[in-house]
Symmetry: C2
Subunit: 337 residues, 2 copies
């Protein structure tokens, strides 16, 4: 693979080159990881910036329909839209929620759109890194908006929020006790709450649900990164294409305000630090799974289980024996510079 060629085709906005580059960053092979790092390093420094929009919604809220309608509304304005998925359960369920592109038939045939399903990895850390790198690639390829969607299994909402400029929560109309069904902490992450299916028989239920959430949002403490009136709740209908332009206007208003006030850049910087620290921790823990450490650990675990030693003593022994950290560093490291 010619990396220079791939790089210029990505910068030219070619979707096939983008797809190929994402396949490269998804690969677990050491050789591919090296090439991916080189490519990403080569692409750094372009001045393109997409609006990264995280979107969470449980199955049944009409997420695919929403993304299809919202995406087509954006491409209708001449904007280029990429859709990525973070779905840690895809390995188990045998396919991503986006795997079936037929669910977004119109959008997937749109030349201004790019849809990429979640890779089949069960490890959330792996999915997170791949998605962050795919976001960088889409941004380099000149996309205007990147939608990063998740079903919200386990920690995946946090993962998506930590790589998004804006975070949307998509809900369906429901009875009075539905407020309790939203996972703790998700309300606090949302910049916009969209109550979908505000059409037909469900319209009045959607309006009531929206009012409930608007009330709940007012109870939360004001965040420094929000202008007056945010976060807010609104109704939309993906089926009838209503409320979608208004939602996009609000998203632009919010991100413009944050750019002016310095919160936009500050959030991206904080996210970069978060992922750096997460990768260091993960890389360190991955070393426990390598021989001979993993073998010694298994042997000690048996001793701990049968009571020959205590968990604390066994852990000290393993840490002392194998996990001494170099305190000198390599002499030729660029850190010295």
């Amino acid at each position: 693979m010619d990396l220079d060629d791939l790089k210029s085709r990505i910068l030219a906005g070619e979707r096939r080159a983008l797809a190929r580059a994402i396949t490269l960053v998804e690969s677990q092979k050491a050789e591919h990881r090296d090439m991916a790092a080189q490519l990403l390093e080569g692409l750094r420094g372009h001045d393109r910036q997409a609006l990264r929009v995280g979107l969470s919604g449980t199955p049944g809220v009409g997420k695919s329909t929403f993304i299809e309608s919202f995406g087509c509304m954006l491409t209708g304005q001449g904007l280029r839209v990429a859709v990525l998925a973070v779905d840690p359960s895809s390995a188990r369920s045998g396919g991503s929620i986006l795997g079936d592109k037929t669910r977004m038939e119109r959008l997937s045939r749109d030349p201004l759109a790019f849809i990429r399903p979640s890779p089949s990895q069960s490890h959330l850390g792996g999915v997170a890194r791949r998605t962050r790198e795919a976001i960088d690639l889409c941004e380099a390829a000149g996309f205007d908006a990147i939608l990063i969607e998740t079903v919200g299994v386990g920690q995946s909402e946090t993962v998506v929020a930590e790589m998004s400029d804006l975070f949307l929560l998509l809900l369906a109309p429901a009875g009075g006790d539905e407020l309790q069904g939203v996972k703790r902490g998700i309300m606090e992450m949302a910049d916009l709450i969209l109550v979908n299916k505000a059409d037909g028989d469900l319209k009045s239920a959607a309006t009531r649900t929206c009012a409930d959430y608007a009330g709940a949002l007012r109870l939360l403490r004001k965040r420094p990164q929000d202008p007056e009136g945010y976060p807010r709740a609104m109704t939309v209908s993906a089926l009838e294409d209503s409320g979608l332009s208004k939602a996009w206007e609000d998203m632009q208003e919010l991100s413009d305000w944050r750019k002016t006030e310095g919160h936009f850049a500050a959030r991206r910087a904080a996210q970069a630090r978060y992922w750096f620290e997460a990768e260091v921790q993960e890389g360190l823990l991955a070393r426990l799974r390598r021989e001979p450490v993993s073998g010694a650990m298994a042997a000690l675990a048996v001793q701990v289980e049968n009571g020959t030693t205590t968990p604390t003593a066994a852990a000290s022994e393993l840490l002392e024996r194998y996990l001494q950290i170099s305190t000198s560093g390599a002499p030729d490291s660029p850190l010295e510079a």
Copy 2:
């Protein structure tokens, strides 16, 4: 401090020696950690076994009153009872829920009881290790039952369940939607659900709440470690001392069955392995907070924040430079034996 003397006084069941030993295991000083490890190693091999009972309940369910009444019921039967607390929030709230022993005035004056508040550490990992070691000490001192209580902040319920033979969930009577207020996953951990305050005006509400939970428990899949009829829900009144003996009988029935069937020992072995792995991970991550790694990490974080490098590249650099793991091991390690 004479460790041999301390050891024999603990084995003789002296509460002052036990208190002193727990202070030792709570200390963060390296010298004290070494002594604590020696003491625990010296105490290993006694054949005493307490029933370790985890207890979770949010503020307002009457946890202190329950522990007081339940503990006095046990000492009334001639049993020795220790009470420990796992409260990760104690550092913040300026004192453990058990800090004020006056809340358990009768029990704290009982010569057969030993009450120890949660240490003021904000770090749940530290509280967990201290509590496991305190459990070992109480067991060596010949206590029959060890109650480990938590308010259930964050992950503290999992921490307590991973060091208990039985796990109790204490609830207060409430309206119909209270089922939803119980944190996801807690129901699955409980061996007994006790609905407290089944007295006076609240008696019928307690009976209804108990029936709701009994119904919910029937919906859960049967666990291999449970005989027919478990987990179960029942009403108690700490105020009127009703239901407490029955709860204790059930706890004994359940633990006797598990001992006969081999589940009791298997659970303790699995817990030992869990804590061993947790301590290895924590010890490894603690190395990131030491110089020069922490300094290099801070410098790289700044570069990541201002976009000079990517999170992935910076993490690789740090891992390569400082976090190489020894693949040889110390030649004189007991692992060779």
